[in-house]
Symmetry: C2
Subunit: 337 residues, 2 copies
């Protein structure tokens, strides 16, 4: 990882008095932590976007640790806690997979002390595995970037981006960044830009509507985003606006790469993914301040679907694939070369 | 025009003590007027975006009236004032054409009183002609909209939009609107949405990155924007983000119409148009509040260029044209059918 490590690489912490989550709704304009005293607090923090991108994965594993160390904990209670956490945000599959992995070590015969120990150990292992898979993904992604590449980002790719930057730096590659601000929560202007500044870059921030203009002006050679979910048939589901990036990239002949640990075997097609619709009121505000005329309503689809024909490569922890061949990610494990 | 007339239809006023311009940087969140005591104040107000879209046309004609009523006015001074106004914003040709028309009535032999009278009369005529041409344009645009059309807008099309709505209402057509918020100044969320509310609609506001998602969700049947300039070969130069709208419209098979009084005979091609680059710092702020991480820089091309192949029709005061035939706008006058 990078040295010094970016602030957002360590933004969920477990202490004696609960789970503390760095509030990404305001970082880096303000630095405040939200304290969650129980798993319900953690679930609400995820729903309210205190943390997002990779953050909910770490928040969810921490939430289960918190639930497991309650003196009266039971396997059934932990399963309910897991279901609550999975229900927070349906589109990204990271919470689901992490909770499922942790609950596999939970049995009805365990004592509370055994549950606490088993969940804490497994949660740490899941967190560590997430970081390691991201590191592998970052190596694959950095390998696609030529030295001197000017990279257009959208939203905040979190560990995927931090790992890509770290791998590029290890390889001695110079990079430049153009970041969409990513309304309504401004993750690009705040989280991505702040982290890139911490990593030694001077990112250029543009508004979400300027992507084609930036490519028209020749500001970027490659577009790179995370994917909240990749279906087995190569659809990229990611923060709303990703499709706009992909359309502009096609128009201007710029490759568009989407990053994800792995495609989701439980999602053969885009229709298998629950698309989260968030409160339209968020679109009518910026940083809590009213920005739209009274009498208007907002519409806030949290994600959009980019079809395979608009994606150049999908980069996973195991390699980079033509979108329609992304299921080969699993084939290579079964029949290694 | 609509009854009651929208607030923004009367947003530049001349009084005894100067030119008063409704501050579109904050309307309708705040209603304040900027008082301009001389033509330099007017020029700075235009540069600082106190008014935009059709606003600078009315501000510029008012600025010349102000300059002409100075007791020491001369034709040379008025020509300097005109040059100053034209230099404020180079991409839209409305100021240039209005100033040129007014200065045609100015001669070196005129007394100050004659100059004041001639300029006031001509400025009023230019304003009136602008409104009448917009009314004709609105009729043409409304004719393209089927009853029940759901219209996606970008930025603030000002008189073009107000006239289109008025014509559609006269024709008894029901319309719905989806408006991009249009960062960094939020003209869509504020000016377009507020005016549509005044006209009796409940517009849906989306962020600029949501255009493809909104069309993916089937929210709009047609995309409609103004054009700050249309070249004789059919390029549409308009508020940055218009190209993103056009790309999304093509992807989802939605017609994209651009509105302009007329193509510019002084701009045979896009390379003939000066593209305004504004202060990147504006992208790092929202309504005056810092919205981006420290250490990032902003990039703010005020306009982008949409090529003719992405435009369905260009609507002028005389008709609607295939983009590559938009110069026929002038042909029809020379050889009427």
């Amino acid at each position: 990882m990078l040295s010094p490590s970016p602030t957002l690489a360590d933004s969920v912490r477990i202490t004696e008095d609960g789970v503390h989550i760095l509030d990404r709704r305001v970082f880096p304009l303000e630095r405040r932590w939200v304290r969650c005293r129980d798993v319900e607090d953690v679930a609400r923090a995820i729903e309210q976007m205190v943390t997002q991108s990779s953050g909910p994965l770490f928040a969810a594993t921490a939430g289960l640790v918190l639930a497991a160390r309650s003196p009266a904990t039971t396997a059934a209670a932990l399963r309910r806690a897991g279901a609550r956490l999975i229900a927070t945000r349906p589109t990204n599959n990271a919470i689901r997979d992490a909770v499922t992995a942790i609950l596999e070590v939970v049995t009805d015969d365990d004592s509370p002390a055994e549950l606490a120990e088993a969940v804490a150990a497994k949660a740490a292992a899941v967190d560590q595995e997430y970081r390691e898979r991201s590191t592998a993904l970052g190596e694959r992604a950095a390998a696609l970037l030529p030295d001197g590449a000017r990279v257009l980002t959208h939203c905040w790719a979190d560990y995927y981006l931090m790992a890509t930057v770290a791998a590029a730096q290890r390889a001695g590659k110079t990079l430049e960044f153009v970041c969409t601000e990513t309304r309504p929560y401004l993750q690009g202007a705040r989280l991505t830009a702040a982290t890139l500044v911490e990593c030694g870059y001077t990112p250029t921030v543009i508004t979400d509507g300027m992507v084609p203009a930036a490519l028209q002006a020749g500001l970027a050679d490659v577009a790179l985003t995370a994917a909240d979910r990749v279906t087995m048939d190569g659809h990229v589901i990611n923060k709303v606006g990703t499709l706009a990036v992909a359309l502009a990239a096609r128009e201007f002949g710029v490759p568009f790469y989407a990053l994800v640990h792995a495609p989701d075997p439980q999602a053969p097609a885009a229709s298998d993914v629950v698309m989260e619709q968030r409160d339209g009121d968020d679109v009518l505000h910026v940083l809590g301040i009213r920005s739209a005329a009274q009498g208007a309503r907002g519409f806030y689809p949290a994600f959009d679907v980019t079809p395979p024909r608009l994606v150049t490569r999908i980069v996973t922890e195991r390699g980079s694939y033509e979108p329609t061949s992304v299921s080969d990610h699993y084939r290579e494990v079964l029949w290694p070369a």
